[in-house]
């Protein structure tokens, strides 16, 4: 029996051929007959659909707001002229035509603020103050009645500015409510617990449409004579309460995933209930549910399109109104819908990418 001596093995590069394109194709798309089959079927579908769609939407499309050309191209090419023709109506709704620079500036400001709020170095207390200022400026610009701006009632607000306003405000207001409700459902005090549970269950039990109906038609019936609350505000409250219930459940899921030991350790260090929530529980719980929170935000954003049933003309409502009012362009409504679908998609996709970035940041700080 001889002692084997240690033979060092020099490092070798990894085999490369598996990374070449043909090898990759073979492995991922044609690995066995099932994979190959589905690759062929899906490939054929794409080959059939994509060229047709590109042909319709780009090559044969009519871009100018030229009704004759559009009619001639019907069935062959898309009529993007309808968007060119109705652009300002779709984007700004019934807002007075000559004053539309106001919603433009207000919305640009709000969007800039939203983007700024997404960057980490700006997460400082003054950001909240800035938000209040930006919202105030937004309202002054939109409503007017001061600084030489003419008054524009809220029922004339519409289009993209209204969509963004509704989504932003209901998210901003729903989030703190949701935090409180989520914590409340785990409270030691039965009254608080029951109240929060009731709230969540009641709201979850009805569709958003009926909440909006109640907010805009039923609520005024119970108000004392002569006292009216603007429909925009009532709808905002309705949407906020609705969003908060769902968000609260998402957050509660995160809270439940925090081990009891974390809370006990914090308690033995002398931290108070609120300090424990703020410093230990919420940072971990929220980080855990970032994808679901953003998912809720995306839902809220898209749900704003329901407000048209209570005669507020958000982006979707404004499109309907713009095109239904004009019999000439009505046949090209589909193209209008595709256009606003693209706008919704851009917003939702940005949110989803941002959520992925946040997740990465969170995991980084976990050291995993």
């Amino acid at each position: 029996m001889s002692a084997t001596s240690f033979q060092p093995i020099a490092a070798r590069p990894a085999p490369t051929d598996s990374r070449s394109l043909p090898a990759w194709l073979r492995r991922n798309l044609f690995g066995d007959w099932k994979t190959a089959g589905s690759t062929i079927v899906l490939g054929a579908l794409l080959l059939w659909f994509v060229p047709q769609f590109l042909n319709w939407s780009l090559l044969q499309a009519v871009w100018a707001p030229d009704l004759k050309a559009c009619r001639a191209a019907e069935g062959v090419g898309a009529c993007w002229g309808v968007v060119a023709e109705k652009f300002r109506l779709i984007i700004f709704g019934r807002y007075p035509f000559g004053e539309q620079w106001r919603p433009l500036v207000a919305t640009a400001l709000m969007l800039a603020m939203l983007v700024a709020s997404c960057t980490r170095p700006l997460w400082k207390p003054w950001l909240a103050v800035l938000w209040v200022v930006v919202l105030a400026v937004f309202f002054v610009l939109m409503y007017g009645n001061t600084l030489g701006l003419t008054k524009v009632e809220t029922d004339r607000w519409g289009g993209l500015p209204l969509t963004i306003l509704l989504a932003t405000l209901s998210i901003l207001m729903a989030f703190p409510i949701a935090l409180a409700v989520a914590l409340g459902r785990r409270s030691d005090l039965p009254a608080i617990r029951v109240f929060c549970t009731l709230y969540v269950e009641l709201i979850r039990g009805v569709p958003l449409i009926s909440v909006l109906f109640m907010a805009s038609f039923m609520f005024p019936l119970f108000m004392p004579q002569g006292l009216t609350i603007d429909v925009l505000i009532r709808v905002l409250v309705g949407m906020t309460l609705f969003a908060a219930a769902y968000l609260a459940e998402v957050i509660r899921g995160g809270l439940q995933a925090i081990p009891k030991g974390q809370i006990e350790a914090a308690a033995t260090l002398g931290l108070s209930y609120w300090q424990i929530q703020r410093k230990i529980v919420l940072p971990q719980a929220l980080a855990m549910v970032v994808p679901s929170i953003v998912n809720s935000f995306i839902s809220i954003f898209k749900d704003t399109s329901l407000v048209s049933i209570v005669s507020l003309y958000d982006l979707t409502g404004a499109l309907d109104m713009a095109i239904n009012a004009d019999a000439n362009w009505k046949p090209f409504k589909l193209q209008g819908y595709l256009f606003i679908a693209l706008i919704y998609f851009i917003f939702c996709f940005s949110m989803s990418r941002y959520s992925q970035w946040v997740e990465k940041q969170v995991n980084k700080s976990k050291g995993r």
Binding site: P259, G261, A265, L269, G270, L271, Q284, A287, K366, R368
Partner: protein
């Protein structure tokens, strides 16, 4: 015993209505005394020491910690928690904070210490447990033994009079147990009162002033380590010792 720092007087506790987990507990711990609590699983050891910093409430009897009688009163609980540090079996470090932030959290937020000072003190504690070079890592980047030493340093940052340990080495791989026990032995030499639930009999022999043996919610026996290991007083303690010492 004159002026004990911890004093249980006929303490009883139930979980729910019919699970009597602590039964007529009488226990005095003197200032600077080091007690090891042992006993079979489920005998109520954790519950006993968790009463000392009010992670659990007792329902009958009196429990006095450093002159304060334990009661359902936020002020009492706060006062007691400032005096009592605790180390858990599962470390319970905060994974979203760095090691240094774990240590400075309570001094900054509870004791309102300036951040700079808190960090300096924290670094001293980390040096004490020989882990200062890891200050800026996150807990999950450390080994189990290192994490437990951080947890000990974190508890020490409040300069407690009493340290509670609940099976601090049970979740560790064998090669890491020693590094944690060494830190605890060093601590034991520095006059702090220690109540330690552990089955590390080597540790008990080396530092404990007395060993408390529990079974079925009762304190069965309390003696000094020498007597406990050589001439256990009861059948139950003999059985228990036979099991854990493996003869």
């Amino acid at each position: 015993m004159s002026d004990p720092i911890i004093s249980f007087d006929k303490v009883n506790k139930w979980y729910g209505n019919n699970f009597h987990v602590l039964r007529d507990i009488d226990l005095q711990v003197g200032r600077g005394e080091r007690i090891v609590v042992c006993g079979p699983s489920g005998s109520g050891k954790s519950t006993l020491i968790r009463c000392i910093n009010r992670l659990e409430e007792h329902q009958q009897g009196r429990l006095i910690v450093d002159g304060v009688e334990m009661a359902d009163d936020v002020k009492v609980v706060d006062a007691v928690r400032k005096k009592v540090g605790m180390v858990f079996q599962q470390f319970n470090l905060f994974p979203h904070l760095t090691v240094l932030e774990n240590l400075t959290l309570s001094p900054i937020w509870v004791n309102k210490m300036p951040k700079k000072e808190a960090q300096e003190k924290a670094m001293q504690q980390l040096e004490r447990v020989r882990i200062a070079e890891q200050a800026h890592k996150y807990p999950l980047q450390l080994s189990g033994g290192q994490q437990q030493r951080v947890a000990i340093a974190r508890a020490l940052c409040l300069t407690p009079k009493i340290m509670l340990f609940d099976e601090p080495t049970s979740a560790l791989d064998p090669e890491m147990i020693k590094e944690v026990l060494d830190v605890m032995i060093e601590l034991a030499g520095q006059g702090i009162t220690m109540v330690c639930v552990t089955h590390e009999m080597g540790f008990a022999k080396a530092v404990a002033d007395s060993v408390v043996f529990m079974d079925e919610g009762q304190i069965v026996e309390r003696s000094n380590p020498h007597d406990f290991f050589n001439t256990p007083q009861t059948e139950r303690s003999r059985d228990f010792l036979a099991k854990i010492l493996g003869h």
